[in-house]
Amino acid sequence: MDIPYTVQPRRDTGLYNAKLGIWLFLASEVMLFGALFSSYILLRVGADPGEWPQRLLNVPIGTVNTLVLITSSVTVVLGWAALKQKNFAKYRKLQTITVLCALTFVGIKSYEYADKFKHYQVITKDGKVYDGHLVKQDNEVVVLEGGLIDASKGKAHGVMVAQREAELHGGHHPEVEIKRSEIQKIGNYGPGHNTYMSIYFTLTGLHALHVIGGALVIAYILWPGAGMYKTDPERYINRVEVSGLFWHFVDLVWIFLFPVLYLL
């Protein structure tokens, strides 16, 4: 028995099955990300004036990742258009670029995550706050590449900006050695550091999982699933369109995430 409406649209909805299915799925995704964005806004609006951390993230890296995703959206749609014009070779080239863009995005995101996990803040018993990248730690001392920050500001904002400038100019911070016995609190900029880092990791982590999932689907359709193009080309083109719709949703989420997390 053949499944109806895999290629031709239903008269009542005007859509074929897969397109209706993906839009229903995307509606649920909008609710998921919408809830998380709402949480972010409520947490930020509810924070005391001057307490919400800003510019903790590396803007040039985020910009590069944004460019990578915009490029991938262009290649995914041009690949679909090439397939509609029966140019399978061009489609394959363009979709390969899409998958490479996805891998690049995940690679850059991993680098950003690793950097945050290596970045430490140390509060000593006499109230001093040190901030910097962990060089080494043992039972006796903790060595950071960074420095003392103005605890009255309560944030590492100034240090972060200065560090970013130093990185841009290839400079290095001096190493600071802190004795374990003097440390009151030590922790990295992981999800447990503060509310901002927590929501940053939740939103970008969930988004990165969507990028990985989308890339896997596109890669499957592109390579192991490509046989369908010979047996049922219209259905295959529909699959490519549906995967492209999901990919665009993932990219649109990032277009909103980037300014909210990196710039504002």
């Binding site: 839009w23 460019l67 915009i70 262009v74 679909w80 509609k84 400038e165 841009l168 665009h248 277009i255």
Partner: protein, 70 residues
């Protein structure tokens, strides 16, 4: 909504982001003492990309003239 329509929406939002980000980076360039060169590069690149996206949007509309928005 077809991939064509969603892509068009995506290009519009991306173009707005590019011009908005260019404004942000150029404002930071003129008001902040750190990372000035990077802000200038990001701002001008982003503005150029916004213009490129507008041109691409026109090209895309012409190329997929016969494809339905539904």
């Amino acid at each position: 909504m077809s991939l064509k329509a969603l892509h068009l929406l995506f290009i519009i939002v991306s173009t707005l982001l590019c011009f908005g980000f260019a404004g942000w980076a150029l404002w930071a360039y003129s008001h902040e003492d750190v990372g000035r060169r990077a802000n200038l590069i990001m701002g001008s690149t982003s503005a150029a990309l916004g213009v490129a996206l507008l041109a691409y949007g026109r090209y895309f509309l012409r190329k997929l003239r016969d494809v339905s928005y539904l």
